[in-house]
């Protein structure tokens, strides 16, 4: 028997896993629509429920778009590891000699590509619907571009810890929402600053820093969470 050699390059493992998950998402593309629909619904119903006044809406637009994006992400988190857990692919992932954190990162990147990225692309449309001042538009896009990956990464920790439970949805929300708050504060802060003509560099820098920290640390936490969930 030959000696085991882990000579498959890690970059290749990352890309192959990313491609596999994107393919899986593409084959089940109907499932991707519901978070986006939710995102659109909130922004459409909000003026009807509160007030259609342009002055009022332009003040709250940043907050509404950000909260809707955050909740839409949260809504999609439960499915991240669910099907892998149910069909045993997760066991095979855990038993592969590749670093689990890397596989997890690839899965989260794929998840963000099909959830956070479409949300970010749709956001300007919602901004216009809610009379977001023109100056705030680019801040909205950039803050979501930096913020939604962080939301996916943090949400993955909750998804990993609750995947072994039959009804994990509510628990994820409780675990993850407190950790989402800083992202929400700096995200909306950036848009509001931009709308009033203030510089947004500081806000984006903090969002970027949180993202950098998240990319490095959350995959390790997710990997540990998955091992616990599968162990029981």
């Amino acid at each position: 028997m030959s000696e085991p050699s882990v000579d498959i390059s890690l970059t290749r493992v990352f890309w192959i896993t990313l491609r596999r998950d994107l393919l899986l998402a593409y084959r089940r593309r109907n499932d991707l629509i519901s978070p986006l629909m939710f995102f659109l619904m909130v922004a459409t119903l909000f003026p009807l429920g509160v007030s259609p006044e342009p002055e009022f809406l332009s003040q709250v637009a940043a907050g509404v778009v950000w909260v809707a994006a955050l909740l839409a992400t949260l809504l999609s988190m439960d499915s991240l590891f669910r099907s892998d857990f149910d069909d045993g692919s997760l066991e095979q992932m855990l038993l592969s000699p590749q670093p689990l954190a890397l596989l997890v990162l690839a899965k989260v990147v794929a998840h963000w590509t099909v959830s956070g990225l479409p949300l970010t692309i749709l956001a300007p449309l919602l901004g216009v619907m809610l009379y977001l001042p023109g100056e705030g538009m680019s801040a909205l896009i950039f803050s979501l571009l930096l913020g939604t990956p962080t939301l996916s990464l943090i949400g993955a920790i909750g998804a990993a810890l609750t995947v072994g439970l039959r009804k994990g949805g509510v628990l994820i929300t409780l675990l993850v929402l407190p950790l989402y708050i800083p992202v929400l504060i700096f995200g909306t802060g950036a848009v509001q600053a931009a709308s009033t003509g203030l510089p947004i560099g500081g806000y984006l820098a903090i969002l970027g820093a949180i993202l950098a920290l998240g990319v490095v640390l959350t995959p390790l936490a997710v990997a540990a969470g998955l091992r616990i969930s599968v162990s029981n």
């Binding site: 028997m1 030959s2 498959i8 069909d87 692919s89 095979q92 855990l94 592969s96 000699p97």
Partner: protein, 211 residues
């Protein structure tokens, strides 16, 4: 005497305050087949999950090639093929896509053997069919096809013959015997009478724990 491939020392596991096994010690050498036996609920699957490293809810020591398992975890994972109750097959991917991904993350596999392996498990012509349109038995065959292109020295197989027809079982048994003859080791659970006679040892769980 050479060091055994896998050694379990004084394993203890309880589930819901019921002791599944205690003081369980055994060794597995290269070229051996260990058949874990016992009635339903005696802890066969639990033992296999512990050995594979999926479950940590146990006491005792495991060693791999003479080294404590915690030190050589990656080497062990690369050297093992695990077949569990869940086939690990994604319903929306085709059989071939499933196996190719497995090859991509497991170094001791021959990716060029995927096609041939699918043909050998009787799935020729089904390579490009999404697995959700295959039957339960065919899904397990997709997962079992890994045995044909894996070069992992240790196979851990939990009920590999469930939902497999008679001819398939005979072929898998021949494959397991050939693997052992080449110096590979197999740990398996099955309720089926194994036709293999050489190098097979039995480990009984539930009631008759060897002391």
């Amino acid at each position: 005497m050479s060091t055994p491939l896998l050694e379990a020392n004084n394993l203890f596991c309880e589930r819901d305050e019921r002791v599944l096994f205690e003081q369980l010690s055994f060794t597995l050498n290269a070229g051996e087949i260990l058949q874990v036996e016992g009635p339903n609920g005696s802890g066969k699957t639990t033992l296999l999950r512990i050995l594979a490293g999926l479950s940590t809810a146990f006491e005792g020591e495991l060693s791999w090639k003479g080294e404590p398992m915690s030190d050589v975890r990656d080497d062990f994972r690369a050297s093992m093929l695990y077949f569990g109750h869940l086939p690990g097959v994604k319903a929306t991917l085709t059989a071939e896509e499933n196996l190719r991904w497995y090859c991509a993350v497991h170094p001791l596999t021959r990716i060029e053997g995927v096609h041939e392996a699918l043909a050998k498990v009787g799935l020729r012509g089904y390579e490009d069919v999404p697995c959700h349109s295959l039957s339960a038995g065919q899904n397990r065959r997709v997962s079992l096809a890994r045995l044909y292109f894996s070069e992992a020295p240790l196979w851990v197989l939990d009920e590999p013959f469930t939902a497999i027809d008679k001819r398939g079982v005979a072929e898998k048994e021949a494959l397991i015997a050939a693997h052992a003859a080449k110096g590979g080791s197999v740990i398996l659970t099955t309720h089926h009478e194994l036709a293999i006679r050489d190098n097979v040892r039995q480990l009984a769980l539930g009631g008759e724990i060897p002391r």
